[in-house]
Amino acid sequence: MKWLELLQVAGVTLFSAVTLVVLYSLGVRLTAIAGDAQQKSPGLMRSLAYACFAVCGAAVLFGIYLIVPYFGK
């Protein structure tokens, strides 16, 4: 039966989507904090935000890497 595979799809979808959204949201949040006037270390926040975006992008690329059969073999 394909229930297991269906469950797998559900799990993967949930995991990957939530990961991406959380990472990206954190990035957005940190960018916003970095933009605040009274913020003491905008540079740090900004670099943290960029780190979030970078990890998010890497996660996407990794996901695609997993899917392409060419790399899988």
Partner: protein, 396 residues
């Protein structure tokens, strides 16, 4: 006959791309994240790339739905021709009427109908149909919707900012999501390529197997992949222009953060299922996500009437195209004359619908299918100022 079927299959691929550009690119264009021209070109290119990435879905279709070869049951190119005719005609009708329908289900319906009439009930592998088509069709939109709901909640929770002393709302600064949408919508386009372009590849492979030029159970050949990839890319590009023209005429209230969440869920759901060879409908998954993300925002409720209408459209697609496919199979079954009649009648019908579509006003109702899903969610709180979306000027 084989050449005719391949031509028809590529045309189906074209209509598929034509139909579905909106799914990927409607929201980023609407929120002003990308310029329309760029968006359409991007979608076309990514569809092309996506089509090359994975061929799992193609294998599902070419080897499974209909029992070919060894059991002594021979599906002929005629049957596939009839099935495709059913799919193409249903696709054109729904496109004309602006119904949110799934190109994939039209294809399966057409094929099943044609096979039942042309060969008989025993020719259909109902178990595979149930496992790889029906079940994903029910669950994929649900999964995508649920995930989109969670993601939207998370995105809003993580980015809501309050002043620590007074508790007042600060400026939320969620503009970053608009940039993010460029990437997520690109992913959706890519996912579309990995799932929808595959269906045509599967069909052409099926024809080649049926005609005896390819071994049963083998995957699509390279030229088939390339041809399908280009057909869907061209379709995407052509379809995009209609959307650009109609973008100014009102859109769902999708905020960048919502769009981002919805698209992420859509892309991951489609990519995950493509990888396992589930042939699901991108339209339905995208609709599920849009509804889910709409619910994730505070102060929303579902318009069950509209949602029901969408569901009804989904239910009808399979049987309706099955009937068209079956009728064509009957006609084709009468011999060469029947094939010619079917081909001529089909072409005439498609041309007729194309002419009608040219004359009728192209509104957002028949350009953006997911739009319908967006309407299924009612927003209680309406924002008066639309500062966050300075998209009105960009769209024109």
């Amino acid at each position: 006959m084989v050449a005719l079927v391949i031509a028809l299959a590529l045309f189906f691929d074209f209509t598929n791309g034509f139909h579905d550009t909106a799914n990927a690119m409607a929201t980023p264009i609407a929120t002003g994240a990308i310029k329309p021209k760029t968006a359409v070109a991007l979608a076309a290119v990514l569809n092309l790339v996506g089509a090359f990435l994975s061929t799992e879905v193609a294998k599902t279709i070419s080897g499974g739905l209909i029992r070919e070869g060894s059991d002594g049951i021979h599906i002929t190119p005629d049957i596939i021709f009839a099935g495709l005719m059913g799919a193409v005609l249903w696709n054109m009708v729904t496109w004309l009427k602006g119904l949110p329908s799934s190109s994939s289900h039209a294809l399966f319906g057409g094929l099943i109908g044609a096979a039942v009439v042309g060969i008989g009930f025993h020719s259909i592998n109902f178990e595979t149909v149930l496992q790889k088509v029906i079940l994903p069709a029910i669950f994929a939109p649900l999964i995508a919707g649920l995930v989109a709901y969670l993601c939207t909640r998370l995105a809003y929770a993580l980015t809501s900012r309050h002043d620590p002393e007074t508790g007042d709302k600060l400026t939320q600064k969620r503009g970053g999501f608009r940039t993010g949408q460029i990437f997520t919508s690109s992913l959706v386009a890519l996912a579309h390529g990995t799932n929808d372009a595959q269906k045509t590849m599967g069909i052409i492979t099926l024809v080649l197997i049926a005609a005896g030029t390819q071994a049963p159970g083998s995957g699509p050949q390279f030229w088939v992949i390339a041809a399908c990839a280009f057909a869907i890319a061209i379709g995407t590009y052509a379809g995009g222009w209609r959307i650009i023209r109609t973008m100014g005429s009102g859109l769902t209230e999708v905020k960048p953060a919502q769009g981002f969440s919805a698209e992420t869920s859509t892309a991951s759901a489609i990519l995950a299922s493509s990888h396992l060879g589930f042939a699901l409908s991108t339209t339905q998954v995208a609709s599920g996500s849009v509804i889910g993300s709409g619910l994730g925002r505070k102060g929303t409720s579902v318009r069950w009437g509209t949602a029901g209408k969408i569901a009804l459209g989904w239910l009808f697609t399979l049987p309706a195209s099955a009937i068209v496919g079956a009728l064509t199979a009957l006609l084709v079954g009468t011999g060469v004359v029947g094939v010619i009649i079917a081909a001529v009648a089909g072409t005439a019908a498609v041309l007729f619908m194309f002419v009608v579509s040219r004359r009728s006003h192209v509104g957002h109702h028949n350009a953006v299918e997911v739009e319908e899903a967006g309407h299924a969610v009612r927003f209680r709180k309406k924002k008066k100022s639309r500062k966050t979306t300075p998209s009105k000027d960009v769209q024109r």
